[in-house]
Amino acid sequence: MSGEGGRAGAELELAARVIGIVRELAGRSAEAEVNVRHDAEALTRFANSTIHQNVASAVTGVRLRLHADGRTAGGSTTVTSADGLRTLVERTLAAVRVSPVDRSWPGLAPPAPLRLSAGHPGSGERSGLAFGFDEATARADPAERAERVGDFVRAAGGLETAGYCRTVYVSAAFANSAGQAVEGRTAEAAMDGIARCEGADGVARLAAARLADLDGAVLGARAAAKARAARGPVELPPGHYEVVLEPDAVRDVLENLAVFGFDGKAHHQQQSFAELGREQFDPSVTIVDEPLGSREEPAADLPFDDEGTPRRSLVLVREGVTTAVTHDRTSAALAGAEPTGHASPVSRSWGPKATHLRLEAAAVPGAAPGAGGTGVIADSARPLVAGVRRGLLITDFWYTRVLDPKALVITGLTRNGVWLVEDGEVTSAVSNVRFTQSYPRALGPGRVLGIGAETVLLPESWGRARYAAPALHLAEWNVTGNASG
């Protein structure tokens, strides 16, 4: 099983013990915040259609941030014995005493109740500890992950496959010396795989709150269908193309908007494109950060951030108008705003980032979150493709990097399937292209020609963020290179 947590409340007790040691060693005037996180991750990785890496870990870590006499320092440890905790406090206190004065310390989060989402099965309607939590996922064993991998491999019908199936269980608590004390736990599963055929790759990925919702056979069949359809690509010249981005590519757009655009620190320093109250996107665009889960984003994260601020749903763009940016306590104090529950261990330096963005799907009665379907074209993208006169259908983006942070001009490549669409029909596979494109400009007023009717919940390829993305039909995408250069 991936979940090896101890009894309920263990992390909160540990946090309280650290607060107690701080009071003993630094007195009651010291401000302290403590995060305790038990993180059990298991990931079964496959390549060349065989399981080649199969790992699990169960780690409890304690992080302390201490502010005393106007100075701040932080520390963390995985040594949670009595000696280990005392050493953590002593070391952090010693660092505080020799640190320069911290003029931007925002103070501690005041005691505040958690916001528990409601309205979807398994959500935290009863208590914080029942928050959107699937016990079976937390306790999944290697055989259950291997079974899904086997299903994926078999469904690919003999094509070479690669990817992973993972389960994650997190039990965490936060306490500070101002009296805030909260706890929660979460479980998550994800599968991400490709099938390969004559030099062409096809992908299928999905995140879920329950491992039971991941069907390796469905994902493997979809990846294989896309790989087969991507064979024999033609090369297209650089230029501006009308595009339909499938949910995987839209995920990349959301991630870059979150990291470089909606970051409250970058916004305050005028390094972001975001301008509150201004219509910067097409009126069809509404973007929400949804850490507590929802019908469309059915995998809730912890209900509090690393400063103990209760997380909540935050509308960043409503009908094209930028309405909010994300804040931790430091960036909020600088901007004269309220913290939005986006503190992380690195947010003071790197800025607070949204990690659960959802681009609202087009309003179609009866549409629900999807898994992407099993065909060459994602279910969410099919109606949009029908409206393309001549353009590209793009599955996925890869290695996207910022050239101009203010305009959010990004270069990157396509991956895992590109097709030419003519008069609403896919006419040929296309080899991967390089693009150089301002993301906010691509989604600007009048440039969004359509949004898919269902969102697909997708895992981040590197970390634990999740994005709920529909397909997107855009008037123009700037292709600046191809396989030849």
């Binding site: 790992v55 320092a73 932080g74 992908v203 490549l413 494109q437």
Partner: protein
Amino acid sequence: MTHFDEAGAAVQAALDAGARYADARVMVRRSETMSARDGDVEDLGFDESAGLGVRALVGSGWGFYAVPDLAEGSARAAGRRAAQIAAASAAVPGLPADLVPAGPITASWASDCVIDPLGVPLSDKGDLLVRATEAAKAEGADVAEANYAVWDTRKWFVSSEGHRIEQHIRECGAGVTAIAIGDGEVQRRSWPSHRGQFGTRGWELVEEIDLVGNAPRMAQEARALLTAPLCPSGETTLVLGGEQLALQIHESVGHAIELDRILGWEAAFAGTSWLDLSRLGSLRYGSELMNITIDPTFPGALGSFGFDDEGTPAVKRHAVRDGLWVGVLAGRDSAAIAGLDYAGSVRSDGWSRLPMVRMTNVGLEPGPHTLDEIIAATGDGVFMDVNRSWSIDDRRLNFQFGCEIGYEIKNGKLGRMLRNPTYTGIGPRFWQSMDMLSNETIAWGTPNCGKGQPGQIGHTGHPAAPARFTNVRVGVRG
């Protein structure tokens, strides 16, 4: 105090549970980071991480399990657990797994360190960052940032083949960045590198790079970039500074020669490689000036060690010799599958992560020229340095890089400053166009190389010097 006993207990438990090979590493890492902005320390943190990771091979299936608890009972449980996970891998089996032979080794190794970075008073380190950012602000930076990082890692490695290896590796580095904000434009200049310079050295590295002395020039250049002309678009002769060339090597050579990528093990995420093993020894990678080595013995470089995380001793070998591809970064299992007889490039990002094929120090051997000679020999071209953005396809062929600063080159001299310089190309075509290479080598450190699932951060080194490339497309814009 050593932790060989706990590592040995984990290995024995894995063997008792059915493994035919097992290894375990106990790692204790202390790290310290500080950042300052605009004259204030913004963040100061210490981290201590201690635990054990055990790897077991059952049949042809691998399993890995990691725990932070160093008690012997926990170590034994972790060993059993790794074997259970390995057994589950058999549900989707592959080819028989083997390891290239390695004899038993008992050894101890420590990196060179003149000034212990963790022994330098925090107040001194804080003053350094504060003064560097103040110096940049005084010269017109709208935002000035500085940071340092220190890692102090002790490892105890035991394998079922008789390895007992202890290592103590100290790494550190620092940097300063000046940011100028204009109307719809943000420009940055960083010293000495876009994330700072890092090495397997003591605090003497940070003292040598003189953050405070160089910060004012960074601010002046960032400010000047706001009104500098755009880098022209077209095909031209490109001269790259050593810092940018280090990242070019990292992305378009280092990752491409990783054997796990070549074998398809990273196909779904990091990607594969354009290199085909059947052409190892005969494929022309670049011009005859191109000599790339894999050298974990390079003194003080960020990818240096005594033994990799499979216990293979550090050895220097060529990856590209006189432009021909001749070597790869390999591990004991990947090398066995590829029919090679060497490993030595397997590393893990801490005790809780599976060791995997990683770069060590992958760099260019020095050339015959100097940067001044290269500029003087260039009639018309562009000089670029210090990375700002990087992007490359999943086979490591099609790349596009952006740099912080550029200059036009006219008639053998540097001319006007150019803003937003970018260049793009196809790896082997680009390397084959290298016609001048400097001998002014610096081993640049990259402390943020991402790979693997779950994600791992690698520390790699890249000896590099300025070089010239012909017929390169520059000035790609959105």
